[in-house]
C-alpha cells in the first residue's frame, strides 16, 4: 500500500484531473508529437521559444495519470528556462526516475520520485520529456519511448 501511495500522490491525482498548460498554443514556434507504443499514449507538446528561453509550453493528448501529471509538471517547470537548463532538468529527472540521486534540484518534479519503484512506468513519466527533446530540435516525426 505504502509504495503505491508513493507513486500516486495526491499532487499527481490533482495534475491528472486538472492538468496545467493543457491545450493548444497557436503562436508556438516549436512542437513535437510523442508516442508510447506500449500503451498507445500520445502527446503533442508546443513551445514558444524566444532568444533561447522557453516562454510558454503547452501540451495536448491522452495518457495515464503518470504521463499526464508528468507533462503538466514539466510544462510548469519549463517556463522561463533556457534550452540548456531544460536539458539539465531532463537529465536530473531521468536520474530520479531511474533511482539515482539527481544532480540538480528538481523542485516540484520530485513528486514523481515514486516512479523509480515501478520500472514499468518509467516510460510514462518520461514521455513528455522525450517529446520536449524532440520539440527543442523541432523534429517533425513522432518521437517514441521505444
Amino acid at each position: 500500500m505504502s509504495d503505491l501511495r508513493d507513486l500516486y500522490q495526491e499532487v499527481i491525482f490533482d495534475h491528472n484531473r486538472h492538468p496545467h498548460n493543457f491545450g493548444p498554443l497557436p503562436h508556438a514556434n516549436r512542437h513535437a508529437d510523442g508516442f508510447n507504443p506500449l500503451c498507445g499514449d500520445r502527446l503533442t507538446l508546443r513551445l514558444l521559444v524566444e532568444n533561447g528561453v522557453i516562454q510558454e509550453a503547452r501540451f495536448e493528448g491522452a495518457g495515464c495519470a503518470i504521463s499526464t501529471a508528468s507533462a503538466s509538471l514539466m510544462t510548469d517547470a519549463l517556463k522561463g528556462k533556457t534550452e540548456a537548463e531544460a536539458h539539465q532538468l531532463f537529465a536530473g529527472f531521468h536520474q530520479m526516475v531511474m533511482g539515482e540521486p539527481p544532480a540538480i534540484d528538481l523542485g516540484k518534479l520530485a513528486v514523481l520520485a515514486g516512479v523509480q519503484e515501478f520500472p514499468a512506468r518509467v516510460k510514462c513519466a518520461t514521455l513528455a520529456w522525450h517529446t520536449l527533446t524532440a520539440a527543442l530540435k523541432n523534429e517533425t516525426t513522432a518521437v517514441s519511448t521505444e
Partner: protein, 408 residues
C-alpha cells in the same frame, strides 16, 4: 468443473502458489500467455536429461529417441487439430512465424498485382503486418472486413468484399482484444465459393475450443504452444497437403533438403521442407505434453468452466459504476476487455498488480480495434482453466480500490 477437480488442476501449476507484492498471485493474463503445468515442465526436463540429441540424422540411440519424441509431438498436434495427415503439421516458432511462412511462401509464389487479401478489423498485428509486407512485394491489395459496435464482423460485409480478386482470407478464430468467437466455418464456406483460401489464426482459440480443421475445411490454421499451457518459442502451422506441396521453401538450411550440390539442391518432402535447421525439440516435446494435459482435462470442461467465469465476471462488470465492456458479442471466449471512466488502463494495471492481480493493459497488438473504439488502450482480464470465481472477486475488489484511489 466441480470445486474438487478445480483445486486438483490448480495444484498442477507450480507458479500459482507464489505471491506477488505479498498477495497470492491472481493470474488473469492468460490471453497473453498461459502458465505451465507440472507435466509440461517434466516433459522438457525429461527430454534434456534423458533424450537430448539432434534429430533426423544420427544413427545413435539418443538421436533416434529424440526423433521419436519430436515426431510423436507432431502426431499429437495432428490428432488435436483433427488433420488428415501428419505431414500437414509444420513446426514453427509460433502463430506469428506460421503466418509469415504462409505469407512468404504461398503469397510470393501465388499473388499478382490486383489480387486481394481480405482480413478483418479485429486481427492481431501478427495477422496484419505479414500481409502488408506481402502486398508491398507483390502489388496485391489489402481489404478489411469492418467490425460493429459489439465487436462482431459487420453482417454481410464479408460477402460484399469477397470477389474473384480475393485470393486469401485471414481471420482470427477468437479475437484477443474483444473475445469474439468468429463464425469461421461460415467464413470459410463463403470464401471458398469465390475460390479464395482461408488462413485461420487459432492463437486464442486452441486452449478454449475444440478445433477440427477437416470439418472447418480451412486451408491453413496456426497456433502457439505458449497460449495452450505449453512452452514458448514453439507452435505449428496446419496446411492442406496439396497446398503445402506446391509451396516453395520458406527458409533454407539443414534438414529441409534431400540433396545439395552447388549446381542444384532438391528439397525434402513434407513436412521437413519447411523445417530448416535444428528445431526447438524440447519445446515440441513440451507442447505434446501440454496437449495431453488439455485433453485429459477435456476441452469441453475447460470451455464450460471458462464460460462460467466469464458470465460471472460480466455480471459484476455490468453492475460496476463507470465500467464499459469492449466486446459484447454473445459468442465470446474467456476475455473481459474494458475501460473505466476517469482512469487510464495503465493505472488500473499498476494498482491491480499491487494487489497481486495480473491483467493486461494496452492495445493488445490490435491497434485497429483500439482505433475503432477511439481508445488508446483497454484493460483486459482473460481466463484459463485454473482460474476461480474468487479470483474474479479479487479482480473487482481491486477495481473498487482503483476507483477509490482515483475518484475519491
Amino acid at each position: 468443473m466441480n470445486e474438487h477437480s478445480l483445486a486438483d488442476w490448480r495444484a498442477q501449476f507450480p507458479i500459482l502458489s507464489r505471491q506477488v507484492h505479498g498477495k497470492p498471485l491472481v493470474y488473469l493474463d492468460n490471453a497473453a500467455t498461459t502458465q505451465k503445468p507440472q507435466a509440461v515442465l517434466q516433459a522438457e526436463r525429461y527430454y534434456y536429461e534423458q533424450l537430448n540429441a539432434n534429430i533426423h540424422r544420427g544413427v545413435h540411440a539418443l538421436s533416434q529417441e529424440a526423433t521419436d519424441a519430436f515426431e510423436l509431438a507432431r502426431d499429437k498436434i495432428q490428432h488435436f487439430l483433427h488433420a488428415a495427415h501428419r505431414e500437414e503439421i509444420i513446426f514453427t516458432r509460433g502463430a506469428t512465424e506460421s503466418i509469415n511462412l504462409v505469407a512468404h511462401s504461398w503469397g510470393r509464389s501465388h499473388l499478382q498485382p490486383g489480387d486481394e487479401i481480405l482480413l478483418t478489423e479485429m486481427e492481431h498485428h501478427a495477422n496484419i503486418v505479414p500481409w502488408q509486407i506481402l502486398c508491398e512485394a507483390t502489388g496485391a491489395q489489402l481489404k478489411v472486413v469492418p467490425i460493429d459496435a459489439r465487436g462482431g464482423l459487420v453482417a454481410g460485409a464479408l460477402q460484399s468484399l469477397l470477389t474473384h480478386k480475393t485470393k486469401l482470407v485471414g481471420v482470427t478464430h477468437v479475437s484477443n482484444a474483444l473475445g469474439t468467437i468468429n463464425p469461421v466455418a461460415e467464413i470459410i464456406r463463403q470464401a471458398h465459393a469465390v475460390g479464395a483460401l482461408v488462413l485461420v489464426d487459432g492463437a486464442q482459440a486452441v486452449a478454449h475450443l475444440a478445433v477440427d480443421v477437416q470439418a472447418l475445411d480451412c486451408d491453413f490454421y496456426v497456433f502457439s504452444s505458449h497460449k495452450l499451457y505449453g512452452p514458448t518459442g514453439i507452435g505449428a502451422l496446419y496446411g492442406k497437403r496439396s497446398l503445402l506441396q506446391d509451396m516453395p521453401p520458406y527458409q533454407g538450411g539443414g534438414d529441409m533438403i534431400s540433396q545439395v550440390t552447388f549446381a542444384k539442391t532438391t528439397y525434402n518432402q513434407l513436412p521437413y521442407k519447411f523445417e530448416a535447421g535444428t528445431p526447438h525439440i524440447a519445446g515440441a516435446v513440451g507442447l505434446g505434453a501440454a496437449i495431453d494435459f488439455v485433453q485429459a482435462v477435456g476441452l469441453e470442461r475447460i470451455a464450460a468452466h471458462e464460460e462460467h467465469l466469464l458470465s460471472y465476471a460480466t455480471e459484476q462488470a455490468l453492475q460496476f459504476d463507470g465500467l464499459t465492456l469492449i466486446g459484447t458479442m454473445p459468442e465470446k471466449a474467456g476475455i473481459l476487455s474494458f475501460v473505466l471512466k476517469g482512469v487510464h488502463p495503465h493505472d488500473i494495471g499498476t494498482i491491480l498488480d499491487n494487489e497481486g492481480v495480473a491483467i493486461r493493459t494496452g492495445h493488445h497488438c490490435a491497434m485497429p480495434v483500439m482505433d475503432h473504439y477511439d481508445l488508446a488502450a483497454t484493460a483486459r482480464a482473460s481466463f484459463a482453466l485454473y482460474n476461480t470465481p474468487e479470483e474474479v472477486d479479487a479482480l473487482f475488489h481491486g477495481l473498487r480500490r482503483v476507483q477509490k484511489l482515483f475518484l475519491g
